[in-house]
């Protein structure tokens, strides 16, 4: 159940990674309207207002930005990306992949599906912090989000 609007949807199954990401965002005051789901299935249910999120929002929930991991149980990030970009209602929502994988096939697939950006999670703490900061500044402050129909 949510009350406020969600600006940033974080889709991440790994608790440690999620904690680090949220910590870095909080540090830069960008975690205010953040919602975290732990797998692809829940992400889709949230966005399309189905399953356990049925009835909230009218037909969709549209965050300003979705931070999406690839390796997740049940429904993978790539599946989620495909559905998001395939549906006219959600196609324009900016999606940024945030993943450990630097492998070519993954990068190719995501861009082919229309991902807006692809960031590799650095192992190093400081580098991670810097990456999240840059991400936040760009996508939450600098970038002009698509026009909200609501």
């Amino acid at each position: 159940m949510k009350q406020e609007r969600v600006d940033l949807l974080l889709v991440e199954d790994n608790d440690s990674d999620a904690e680090l990401t949220i910590r870095h965002l909080k540090k830069n005051n960008m975690a205010n309207n953040l919602f975290h789901v732990k797998d692809g299935e829940e992400a889709l249910e949230f966005i399309f207002a189905t399953g356990k999120y049925a009835g909230q929002g009218d037909s969709t929930n549209r965050p300003k930005i979705i931070l999406l991991d690839i390796q997740m149980p049940k429904v993978s990030g790539i599946e989620v990306l495909k559905q998001l970009k395939g549906d006219p209602r959600t196609r324009s929502i900016p999606v940024v992949i945030l993943t450990s994988s630097k492998e070519d096939p993954d990068i190719q697939k995501c861009y082919a599906l229309g991902v807006n950006s692809y960031i590799v999670k650095p192992v190093n703490f400081e580098s991670f912090a810097e990456a999240i900061k840059n991400f936040g500044f760009y996508w939450l402050l600098l970038n002009q989000p698509p026009v909200d129909k609501l």
């Binding site: 993943t99 450990s100 192992v123």
Partner: protein, 479 residues
């Protein structure tokens, strides 16, 4: 005119038969001729001798009674034999008593009688027969005959011979034409079959055996050879198919192994990094959020934790690069080594540049190899040279090449810290280092990667060094 050996068999047979025919006929006819000649002469001679005896016997009265008219009459009877051209009677004194001649020439008659007997002179047969009565010689008879008879006969024979020759050659020709088929037809058939088979490469055709003679044997042998060719062809095809099958199977195996490895390194890159990130992240969080609660020792401990975890990250990266290099197919192209080297140095310099390094780069030949892999080799060797000579006051790196044993040999020489030549076989093994991590950072995978790449491209790597003087690394590539 064609060489005899190149004439078709049919014509050869014809010529042989004609030749034999001709020779046999010739020998036969000549023999016959000669025989006839001598027989004829003998017969003529005997005949003349007999005529002589008869005339002589009839002339005794004429000679005894010196009756010239009677003698003339008797001689005139010789008219019956047209070939007798002259006859004369001599009395017992050897004087001509009577003459007979078909021509008017006087010199035809010998002056006086000679010895009894007949002989051939020039083209006449002449001779003497004694005229005797009761053992008393009354005179001599001279007879001369021309050879017209014989010549006629011989002419006749000659004509017959020529006719016989013509007819027999004609017959021979016809018969040869007909009979040589029994020899040449099977040969031609076999030759034709062989030509067809070898032109069209159809080995299922067989020659027809036409008899049990040598040609039959040849045909059988020929067919047998064809059987063998067909069988060998079948075997080859089967073998090839087997081989193809094996190659396919082997390729499938290799492909599946490769896929496994790809999956493996994918997992590694993903799943190993996440916990690493967590360890580093949470240790940092500890440092950041609990600074006041941690003393110097605690901070040292957390820093050790982080340092080791970071190193593990590098190890993973290097190992992944190592395994990825092994899986690449390494397509070769011609590489401008000088250009590649300059790019590599430019890309490395900003990172490593501390003291000013003096470079001595000699012109390098073009090489054949996989561009990505060779670039990695240069990166590793040059960054090593930079790293290990960094502590020198005047770091100097020399790069050049020479040719040896049909290969291009490239070297990178530095005046850095060098290594003990004693341990040089460890140099190119994975994770082996000859220096401590405090002195020089590194995972010990760089040189192993170089070795793997170069040996894959068909070359060698080796090194020479002296502790504290410097090191020189060589790698060779086939020309």
């Amino acid at each position: 005119m064609m060489l005899y050996k190149n004439i078709p068999i049919r014509k050869k047979l014809l010529r042989i038969v004609f030749l034999i025919n001709g020779i046999v006929l010739f020998v036969t006819c000549v023999t016959f001729f000669i025989y006839e000649f001598y027989i004829f002469r003998k017969t003529t001679s005997e005949k003349l001798s007999t005529i002589g005896k008869i005339i002589a016997a009839n002339s005794t009265a004429a000679l005894a009674f010196q009756n010239a008219d009677d003698a003339k009459e008797i001689l005139a009877a010789l008219k019956a034999e047209p070939h007798i051209v002259a006859a004369s009677l001599y009395d017992k004194d050897g004087k001509i008593f009577s003459k007979y001649a078909t021509t008017a020439r006087e010199s035809v008659f010998p002056v006086s009688p000679g010895v009894a007997g007949f002989s051939f002179t020039n083209s006449y047969l002449d001779g003497f027969t004694p005229v005797t009565q009761d053992n008393r010689q009354l005179g001599t008879l001279y007879l001369k005959s021309d050879m017209g008879d014989m010549y006629e006969r011989l002419r006749l024979y000659g004509t017959i011979v020529v006719l016989v020759l013509v007819i027999s050659f004609f017959l021979a020709y016809v018969l040869v034409r007909f009979l040589q088929k029994s020899i040449s037809t099977p040969i031609l058939a076999l030759a034709q079959t062989a030509k067809v088979i070898s032109d069209q490469k159809v080995y299922s055709v067989r020659a027809v055996k036409m008899g049990n003679d040598e040609l039959g044997t040849l045909t059988e042998a020929f067919n047998h050879m064809l059987d063998q060719i067909e069988e060998q062809n079948r075997n080859l095809v089967e073998f090839n198919q087997n081989l193809e099958q094996k190659v396919m199977e082997r390729t499938e195996q290799l492909e599946s192994v490769n896929k496994e490895l790809e999956g493996f390194s994918y997992s590694v890159s993903h799943d190993l990094r996440a916990p690493l990130r967590a360890v580093i992240g949470f240790t940092s969080m500890l440092e950041e959020d609990y600074t006041s609660k941690l003393d110097d020792e605690a901070m040292r401990i957390t820093s050790v934790i982080k340092k080791n975890t970071i190193k593990m990250g590098h190890l993973i990266d290097d190992l992944l690069a190592f395994s990825r290099m092994g899986r690449q197919d390494g397509t070769k192209t011609a590489i401008d080594m000088t250009e590649m080297l300059n790019e590599v140095i430019t890309s490395l310099s900003p990172v490593e540049g501390n003291g000013a390094i003096s470079w001595d780069i000699q012109p390098l030949p073009r090489a054949n190899g996989n561009a990505n892999m060779i670039r990695q080799v240069w990166v590793n060797l040059v960054s090593n040279a930079i790293k290990y000579s960094r502590k020198r006051k005047a770091p100097h790196i020399e790069i050049g090449s020479f040719d040896k044993d049909n290969k291009h040999v490239f070297f990178v020489r530095d005046n850095g810290v060098g290594f003990d030549q004693l341990y040089q076989d460890k140099l190119f093994k994975v994770f082996q280092r000859l220096h401590s991590a405090e002195e020089f950072e590194g995972t010990g995978v760089g040189l192993a990667l170089v070795e793997k790449i170069i040996s894959k491209q068909g070359g060698d790597v080796w090194a020479e060094a002296e502790k504290d003087k410097g090191a020189c690394f060589y790698f060779s590539l086939p020309i």
